[in-house]
């Protein structure tokens, strides 16, 4: 049996997503794949404690990397928008770090910085260079007629979405980064 769930996780919510997927598996639902932007397809299975981990590799995914993850006991099963999805049964894990993709704070901070640079920054640039100017145009009445009105509404909606997204992702990613930075003493 299969089920599809809708759930929104932004680029800053990968740690919450890992916990959610683990809970699903504990309840007998194993993730099969994701469909952009927010649809998760599960397959029923024996309830089991399986650790889920996400790594952001953007487009870079070498054979060496995939082989290394496999050697360390990680099963790769899907990728979505630059994120790779791995899982490993909790029973196969002898120490806490074996259940992690990253065992030191330096590499955890690197992951957050990578996401900020390749995902958050482009969103901020689109917001500044495209959404804001068009939103201002709309407010100042530069759009005329029906088409102009709907275009204006579209930019107003985009404006709100971008503000919410940028504030949420920006603050949360910084919080995650600081959490791990404290650990390094840096």
């Amino acid at each position: 049996m299969r089920k599809t769930m809708t759930r929104v996780f932004t680029i800053a919510d990968y740690e919450d997503e890992e916990i959610w997927l683990r809970e699903q598996h504990q309840n007998g639902w194993k993730l099969v794949n994701m469909t952009i932007p927010c649809f998760y397809t599960f397959e029923s299975c024996e309830p089991e404690d399986v650790i889920y981990r996400l790594d952001f590799r953007n487009m870079e995914r070498s054979e060496e990397y995939m082989q290394m993850l496999k050697d360390f006991g990680w099963e790769y099963f899907d990728q979505c928008m630059g994120w790779l999805y791995f899982r490993k049964p909790a029973a196969a894990v002898e120490s806490e770090d074996e259940g992690e993709l990253f065992s030191d704070n330096e590499s955890r901070v690197n992951l957050v910085s990578h996401v900020m640079k390749t995902r958050l920054l482009p969103i901020a640039i689109i917001f500044l260079c495209c959404v804001i100017p068009n939103f201002v145009k709309f407010v100042s009445g530069a759009y005329v007629g029906y088409a102009g009105f709907f275009l204006g509404i579209l930019f107003a909606v985009l404006f709100v979405i971008y503000v919410v997204l940028l504030v949420h992702c920006g603050t949360k990613l910084r919080r995650i980064r600081n959490k791990y930075r404290m650990g390094t003493g840096a």
Binding site: E64, Y65, Q67, L69, D71, F72, E100, F102, D104, S107
Partner: protein, 107 residues
């Protein structure tokens, strides 16, 4: 030794030190993690992502180099620069160890 390299790697993270130490003989990532786990009595565990990231970075900075490939697994080995860094770290750790026992070190 280049100042930039020195700034990045001295002092080194614990995982970085173990990885460089193990690469005195050619090894691949998983082999290194197994060796580290064994030699540290299980108290140092380096996970996959950290291993891959550290190896890539060290190769780029010239501390280690590609040695050979075995079934999609890359084997690496320490370079002269890597050895220089490793020796610097070992001397630093020896000093720390002596000082922690209350012994002074000679200039």
């Amino acid at each position: 030794m280049e100042d930039r390299i020195k700034r990045i790697y001295v002092p080194m993270t614990e995982s970085g030190f173990y990885i460089l130490y193990c690469l005195q003989s050619p090894q691949h990532g998983y082999g290194i993690s197994q060796q580290v786990k064994r030699m540290s009595g299980g108290s140092v565990v380096i996970s996959a992502g950290t291993m891959y990231g550290t190896l890539s970075k060290m190769e780029k900075d010239g501390l280690i180099r590609f040695y050979s490939e075995e079934e999609k697994r890359k084997l690496y080995q320490i370079t002269d620069l890597g050895r220089e860094i490793l020796d610097t770290e070992i001397r630093r750790i020896e000093r720390l160890y002596k000082n922690s026992k209350g012994e002074d070190v000679d200039a």
